[in-house]
């Protein structure tokens, strides 16, 4: 006896930890990743494995340098996993090795540790890594695969719509219609929902990602203040404006198509909600989620790149400190009249 622990109050905790948060998010991403392996085959598995191992490796090296022990907090594994999920399912030559390694190292060395490691980075490391390799090796990052086959295709549904619309003068009523017209691989909402489409390894199955998201919502790890405004604002803008591209006028955009494609679900529930790079207060989160939704719409419809999710979140990451500054909670006990009587 007589070796009781003495510590400062509180002596009580809700039981969550950095460890539990990081591993829960990883667990939530697993079904969708495995789905990616199933539809895209072995090449995708290797790409994800390389991403994760190189992220862990980077973290290990930095742990040695800074004499820290952060390998098992799960954050490096999660970064590697997210990077892997955001990679295309196959790459030519040795690109399947150096592209994921490049992305993970950039994420860990530059984005995360140059600012002091976990919690101090201002940009989501996985997004940073992905964008870095996208601009460095664009041609490897845009090679897509037809699910369940070995056929290589030039585009994801969203990409095909974007390129299909260039100089288009037909009469397609919306994105799905257009896809049927311009390419042989026609796509249905169900394909999009289940993940039988081309895309990054971990982003294609909306269904499995949503199951993961529900798990995180139940575990109170991701916050509605981010994903609800993100989804709603994005959907509303798509609905109002996207019909215009098909000549069907305002208020006729195909919301479902846009939500189910281009990694939107992955971005909304798993990347925009990253604790470290999102605002601190509920109010701030709502502003941030709104901004993410609007920018994703803007970049996706009017930008050069079909998806828009990564860039939108990164831009919003940049202004998080600003949002935090203007959404501080009100201090108790500083109202001149002692507050209102309800």
């Amino acid at each position: 006896m007589d070796k009781l622990k003495v510590s400062s109050s509180p002596q009580f905790h809700n039981g969550d930890s950095t460890f539990s948060v990081m591993w829960s998010v990883s667990l939530a991403l697993l079904p969708s990743t495995i789905w990616g392996f199933i539809v895209f085959g072995l090449s995708s598995l290797w790409i994800v494995v390389v991403s994760i191992l190189s992220a862990l490796c980077g973290e290990y090296i930095l742990n040695k340098i800074y004499k820290k022990n952060t390998l098992n907090d799960g954050s490096a594994f999660l970064t590697g996993l997210l990077i892997g999920m955001n990679m295309p399912p196959m790459m030519n030559g040795f690109a399947w090795l150096y592209v994921p390694i490049g992305a993970s190292f950039f994420a860990i060395f530059i984005v995360k540790w140059a600012f002091g490691g976990l919690g101090n980075n201002w940009m989501n490391p996985a997004l940073g890594g992905r964008v870095f390799v996208f601009f460095s090796w664009t041609k490897h990052m845009t090679l897509w695969k037809v699910p369940m086959t070995d056929a290589v295709t030039g585009a994801t549904p969203l990409g095909a719509v974007k390129s299909g619309l260039l100089g288009y003068s037909g009469s397609a009523s919306g994105p799905l219609d257009l896809l049927n017209e311009v390419s042989k691989d026609s796509v249905s909402y169900l394909d999009l929902f289940l993940g039988k489409i081309g895309g990054s390894i971990g982003e294609v199955s909306a269904l499995l990602l949503l199951i993961g998201a529900i798990f995180l919502i139940i575990k109170k790890i991701i916050r509605w203040e981010i994903y609800v405004p993100y989804l709603v604002v994005f959907a509303v803008f798509i609905w109002i404006f996207d019909g215009n591209r098909f000549g069907s006028g305002y208020f006729s955009g195909d919301v479902l198509f846009h939500i189910l494609s281009g990694g939107l679900i992955l971005g909304v529930f798993f990347m925009a909600t990253d604790m470290v790079t999102s605002p601190l207060t509920s109010k701030g989160m709502i502003i941030y989620g709104t901004g993410c939704g609007f920018l994703t719409f803007l970049f996706r419809i009017y930008g050069a790149n079909p998806e828009g999710v990564s860039l939108a979140i990164i831009v919003m990451n940049i202004i998080v400190p600003l949002i935090n500054r203007y959404t501080k909670p009100r201090l108790f006990g500083y109202v001149s009249d002692g507050g209102s009587n309800e």
Binding site: V6, Q11, F12, D73, P329, F332, G333, V335, G338
Partner: protein, 442 residues
């Protein structure tokens, strides 16, 4: 029923309030040895008035208040003073303590005590009784009660608020007190009404004590006392003074001010009971209700315990441990103090002794702050704990003070929520004490 609450922040820890007690057998066994510290209150320690070898009777004065903000200390058991020693208090401070070996006659134990009338006494006389009895705030703050009761001239009191929130997990002793002694509490309130003449008397408690509230309301009616029970949401820290006042009267006590600045005096329900005993039974404060609980204790329960009884004796009374505890806490798990051995005695401010198992404590490794904002969600004072932590860590104390460090009530809601398991409250305390010291130096 619309429940009142403070608006921002707060947390919902598990209640774990399994209220076990028996009405006929509330008294804990008397300690064989009572260790009675001379400093059980905020303010100057009492001056020892006994010597080793003296024989004392129950309720005899052991220590005399030194100054206005101080408090008398009485013998909780009869017997011989065998030692006067340094003793660790639950807070970790050291105080001189009178050690009594229990022997001889109990003058009061098991006897029906005479009741004294008080209606004809003057306010000054009543306050003097409270002072002589050594009554202090029994919710944990231990501020001498007679000081609070001494209103400045020509201040008219609007609200007398009684804190029966008992919002900490595990603690149930106030609940039991209200169920068992509602009439005595009512009489205590009548005494306070005479002294303070408030416009309203409101007893605030979380809704998990509805039965106790109803019992009190009934006894107010019987006694024709114009007082009301206000039920509050189950939310921690509903019983923190500023939050309680905000919940009940809708006003915020301005930063750095006392409740009286919004017309309020706030007393703990146990203190009200102690006032009853002092005035009606002429008993000083020598015992109190305590919860003995936590997963490590075999038979948790609520007992009426003599001041100076050791934690060890009480835990033995509850069947000992069924599992090795990792922490033993005086008070509740959110704001209480851990002790490093079980010889620490119960004092006037001890509301519970809680022995927690490793599974209950849920400790984990500390990591960098994740910027998740959960500490902000939890903070009832509108602070940004993550930022305060960083500022103190980087020695930017002035900036921390500007950001409201001194408004922190150390409720622990932030740390309870923090996935990085940062020692937020510890850091805030350290910051405050550095600032106090540097102020003192100036």
């Amino acid at each position: 029923m619309k429940l009142k609450s403070f608006p921002k922040g707060g947390i919902h820890p598990p209640h774990r309030k399994n209220r076990v007690y028996s009405s006929d057998d509330l008294n804990a066994s008397l300690p064989k040895i009572a260790v009675i510290p001379l400093s059980q209150h905020i303010g100057a320690p009492a001056k020892c008035v006994v010597n080793v070898g003296d024989i004392v009777k129950e309720d005899d004065l052991l220590g005399e208040a030194t100054g206005f903000v101080s408090s008398n200390i009485h013998a909780s058991v009869p017997g011989e003073v065998i030692e006067i020693k340094d003793q660790f208090l639950p807070s970790g401070r050291v105080s001189k303590a009178v050690v009594i070996e229990t022997k001889g006659e109990f003058s009061r134990l098991g006897k029906d005590l005479d009741k004294y009338t008080w209606e004809d006494l003057s306010n000054a006389e009543l306050i003097q009784i409270v002072k002589d009895a050594g009554i202090v705030g029994m919710g944990g703050a231990t501020f001498p009660t007679h000081v609070k009761l001494t209103l400045p001239d020509n201040v008219k009191l609007k609200h007398l608020i009684i804190n029966a929130a008992e919002c900490e997990p595990y603690l149930t002793s106030d609940h039991v007190l209200m169920l068992e002694c509602s009439n005595e509490i009512t009489e205590g309130l009548k005494i306070l009404k005479k002294i303070l003449d408030p416009e309203y008397i409101q007893v605030g408690m979380e809704i998990n004590k509805e039965d106790a509230g109803d019992k009190l309301t009934e006894s107010f009616k019987l006694a024709n006392l114009d007082a009301s029970v206000v039920f509050l949401k189950n939310k921690y820290p509903q019983g923190a003074e500023k939050n309680l006042v905000r919940a009940i009267i809708g006003k915020e006590i301005p930063s750095g001010k006392l409740p009286i600045s919004v017309g309020v005096i706030n007393l703990n329900i146990s203190t009200v009971y102690a006032i009853y005993e002092a005035v009606v039974l002429h008993r000083p404060l020598v015992e109190r209700f305590i919860t003995i609980g936590g997963g490590a204790v075999k038979n948790p329960g609520v007992y009426r315990v003599r001041i100076g009884t050791s934690a060890r004796a009480l835990i033995e009374e509850c069947g000992g441990f069924n599992e090795e505890p990792v922490k033993v806490i005086f008070g509740g798990p959110m704001m209480g103090f851990t002790v490093f051995d079980l010889d620490v005695p119960v004092t006037k401010g001890t509301s519970g002794i809680i022995a927690l198992t490793a599974k209950e404590v849920k400790s984990a490794n500390t990591t960098n702050c994740l910027k998740c904002g959960r500490c902000i969600d939890g903070c009832p004072m509108g602070l940004v704990p993550s930022r305060l932590y960083k500022l103190i860590d980087h020695h930017q104390l002035d900036e921390a003070i500007k950001s409201g460090l001194n408004d922190c009530v150390e409720c622990g809601s932030c740390a309870y929520n923090c996935p990085a398991h940062l020692f937020l409250v510890q850091k805030f305390r350290a910051g405050k004490s550095i600032e106090r010291r540097s102020k003192g130096a100036k």
